[in-house]
Amino acid sequence: MERTNSRRSLIATLPLGIGLMAAVDEVVFHQILRWHHFFDWSTPAFGIVSDGILHTMELMLFILGAFLVAEVRRVLVPRAAWAGLFLGMGGFQVFDGVIDHKVLRLHQIRQVENLWLYDTVWIAAGVALLLVGFGLARRA
C-alpha cells in the first residue's frame, strides 16, 4: 500500500515538474532573453506558433498535475512527490537539451560561437535535477 502511495505521489507531481521547467524555458529564454524559440527556423511566425503550442502544453500539464495531486492528497508521500517534481523538471531539461537541441536540431540555446558551453551547462543542470529526483525517489 505504502509503495502504491509513493508511486502515485511521484506520478502526480511529474507533470507539474515538466510544466514548471517548460514554463521557465518559455518565460526566461524565449520571452525575456529571446535567445531562441521552440522552432527556430528563422521566421518569427514559426517561432510564435511553436511557442504558443509549448505554452499550451505547460498550461495543460499544470492543471493535470494539480488534479492528480488533489486525487492523492490524503495519502501523499511528500518525499515521493518532491522526487516526481525534480524528475519532471530534470527530464524536460535533458529531453530539451539532448533531443530538441542536438538530435532534432529544432533550435539551439543561443546562436553563439561557444555553443558547446551552453549545451553542457543546460544538460548538466538537467542531469543534476534528475539525480536529486532519483535520490529522493530511492529514499521515499
Binding site: 518569427p44 511566425a45 510564435i48 506558433v49 511557442d51 504558443g52 503550442i53 505554452h55 499550451t56 502544453m57 498550461l59 495543460m60 492543471i63 493535470l64 488534479f67 486525487e71
Partner: protein, 249 residues
C-alpha cells in the same frame, strides 16, 4: 435592438432559469450562481458606458469581447441550463429535445471541432481580415458579431466540458485534443496581433493595439485554463466512477 438582445432577453432567460430551479427543489445553488454570473457578465459588457469605451478604445473592445465571448459562456455553461430544462419539461418533451441533438446537421454543429472553428476561427477572421474595420462602422454587424461570439463561445465550452447531457459528444481524448489546439490557436492569435499590429486600418496607435493584444492573450489564457479545469474535473470524476466499478470502463 441592443437593449433587447443584451439586457432584456438575458434577464428574461435568467428569470426563467431561477423559476425552474426553484420549482425543481433539489437544484444546486452553485449552478444557479454560475448561470446568474454569466448573465450578469453579458449585461455589464453591454452597458452604455462599456459600449462607449469599447467603441473608442481597442482595449475596451477586447475586454468586452473577453466577457461576452469567453467568460460569460463559460459561466452559463457551468450553470447546466440544459439539464435544468430537461428536468423541467415532460418526459416526452425531454426525449424530443434530446432527439434533436441526433439530427445529422446538429451533430456536425455541436462537434468540438466545428465549435472551435466557429469560435476561435471567427476571431482569426475578425482580427486578421478587414472585417474589424467594416464592423466598426456597421452597428448591425457589430451586434451580430457579439451575438455570434456569445453563442459560439457557449457551444465551444459546452462541447468540451459541458455538464449537460450530450449523448453524441466525442470521447475525452478528442475533446482534450481540440481544447489543446484551440488554446494554442488563441495564444498564437494574440501574439500575431501583438507582433504584426493587427487589426489593420483601425487608426489605433501601435501601443493601443499591443496592449489590446496582451489583454487578449492573458485573458483568453485564463478563460481557457478555467475550461481545462472544468474538463479535467469531468475526466477525474469518470476515473473515480470507473475505479469504483459503478460504470464499465
Amino acid at each position: 435592438m441592443t437593449v433587447l438582445l443584451f439586457t432584456l432577453l438575458p434577464l428574461a432567460v435568467l428569470a426563467a432559469y431561477l423559476l425552474a430551479a426553484r420549482r425543481d427543489g433539489g437544484w444546486s445553488a452553485g449552478r444557479s450562481a454560475s448561470f446568474a454570473a454569466g448573465i450578469l457578465l453579458i449585461v455589464v459588457a453591454m452597458l452604455p458606458s462599456v459600449q462607449h469605451w469599447a467603441h473608442h478604445d481597442l482595449r475596451g473592445h477586447m475586454i468586452q469581447h473577453l466577457m461576452l465571448g469567453m467568460f460569460a459562456p463559460l459561466a452559463l455553461m457551468l450553470g447546466a441550463p440544459g439539464t435544468l430544462l430537461l428536468r423541467s419539461v415532460s418526459v416526452g418533451a425531454a426525449r424530443r429535445l434530446v432527439a434533436l441533438l441526433a439530427l445529422p446537421p446538429v451533430r456536425v454543429l455541436i462537434h468540438p471541432i466545428t465549435a472551435a472553428l466557429l469560435d476561435i476561427g471567427a476571431m482569426y477572421v475578425l482580427y486578421l481580415t478587414p472585417l474589424y474595420g467594416v464592423m466598426a462602422h456597421d452597428p448591425v454587424l457589430h451586434v451580430l458579431l457579439h451575438v455570434h461570439f456569445v453563442l459560439a463561445g457557449y457551444l465551444f465550452s459546452w462541447s468540451i466540458a459541458g455538464p449537460d447531457p450530450a449523448p453524441y459528444r466525442p470521447g475525452l481524448r478528442m475533446r482534450l485534443t481540440v481544447l489543446f489546439a484551440a488554446t494554442a490557436a488563441h495564444a498564437v492569435l494574440g501574439k500575431v496581433m501583438y507582433g504584426f499590429a493587427y487589426p489593420r486600418n483601425t487608426g489605433v496607435p501601435i501601443e493601443g493595439l499591443r496592449s489590446a493584444a496582451q489583454w487578449m492573450y492573458y485573458g483568453g489564457d485564463l478563460a481557457e485554463a478555467c475550461l481545462a479545469v472544468a474538463f479535467f474535473a469531468i475526466w477525474f470524476r469518470q476515473r473515480h466512477r470507473n475505479a469504483a466499478g459503478l460504470v464499465p470502463a
